[in-house]
Symmetry: C2
Subunit: 250 residues, 2 copies
């Protein structure tokens, strides 16, 4: 999918490619083009290894849940089985009584890498997309570790596409809004992240090898809140489009 | 790899197969056989999705670290990038000052599955292997969430092979010993698990889809302890062989 290739000559269309840009092989355009309205977008990537989440990376969000900003980045994993596409339905499992949306900027890794210096982070980043780090608060509280609270099926909507045209600095000054049923809930900017894009890539790759297609969810700003069956949650980030997921019971 | 196929007629050999038993296609023997001493065994599986760990699943281990037995299984994820083979080296990263071995029975999932009833767990299990749930205690303490403490590269040695001939009940009464540099450290039995094999598969699959090759690490008994560069840690489980990994600095 490449919306920007022709400088806006064909707005709201997608162009077919010959292979996967994350597979490390040559990618060409076939010349085929489709109206965006005629296709259903799937998750732009299913990580072959991991989704790394970052907790409490916006001071105002840490405060709204009564938490301190951690001394070092607070990391957790979501499994690739939790990933769904940009219009798929978030399904609330039995016992998940208090589930929150969390709108976030997601980094898509482009190269296998380890121990990436901050100043070389741009070299290993494929692009950026939007993520909803869906979280079950009652399981987060009762379990202590967040595997179930953040790892359930459908708890990681991503998309609608991957923007490959931003530098880490540019990705660090994008406005972010979340709406539930049209009502504005989050209204912030990625410039408020405590640790920025390059710093997170460097910190995480210091202990774990990152693979092409791995995702880093950079944390959510203040304004998180409940989602219930029948709701629709939309997350917008400048230049990354809108991630729009209905909510239902599993 | 199939050691038992000929009823012990060819001990200490391995037989070549035509394809991956976890790929869901027909698997045949080629007739080729190699002495076990002539081959280097790799990790018997690299999960395409996840390694699910279970914390505090032996009462005596929970007690030795001053923890309560949790009301529900305490779950965490290790990424597939942490998996290494049965003779590979555990590498201690900078800052990982207090790293422990944890000998464990690992369940290998054989079928894509969700919401598996306890009585049907056997249907979705491919087999069993040994795992070392390597854990950095100082990161576990400082981070709160265990992603870094348990997710670093090389922190999930598994092997040496997968035993496909056990029922969940049989897997729940195997003796387990761990040695560091030949000294006995853990000497227990999987019968002491608080939640058994079938119960864990059912509980975990209630919220997350399990894929063929996914691993469940069932928790460690008492006797965990430090490993340092130059050490060798061996974990033995009845019928599953010996997982034997040297330790070095990263």
């Amino acid at each position: 999918i490449e919306l920007a290739v022709d400088g806006g000559e064909h707005p709201d269309t997608i162009a077919a490619l010959t292979s996967d840009p994350l597979a490390g092989v040559a990618v060409n355009y076939t010349g085929e083009r489709h109206d965006l309205d005629d296709v259903r977008l799937l998750a732009p990537v299913i990580p072959r290894s991991k989704v790394v989440g970052v907790g409490r990376n916006y001071a105002a969000h840490a405060a709204e849940l009564g938490n301190e900003v951690p001394a070092e980045p607070l990391l957790f994993f979501k499994p690739n089985t939790s990933v769904i596409g940009p219009t798929d339905t978030i399904l609330l499992p039995d016992g998940a009584d208090e589930v929150h949306f969390e709108g976030e900027l997601a980094i898509v890794i482009g190269r296998i890498c380890k121990e990436v210096p901050v100043e070389r982070a741009a070299d290993v980043i494929f692009g950026y997309t939007i993520a909803n780090d869906v979280t079950c608060r009652n399981w987060q509280q009762s379990d202590g570790q967040w595997a179930r609270a953040k790892g359930a099926d459908t708890f990681c909507p991503i998309g609608p596409w991957i923007n490959t045209h931003l530098t880490p600095d540019e990705a660090g000054r994008l406005s972010l809004q979340s709406h539930v049923n049209g009502e504005l809930k989050q209204d912030s900017n990625t410039s408020h992240m405590i640790r920025g894009v390059a710093e997170l890539v460097s910190y995480i790759s210091a202990f774990t090898t990152l693979l092409p297609g791995d995702l880093i969810l950079t944390g959510t700003p203040e304004g998180v809140g409940l989602i219930r069956p029948g709701d629709e949650v939309n997350i917008d980030i400048d230049g990354l489009g809108t991630l729009s997921n209905p909510v239902d019971k599993a």
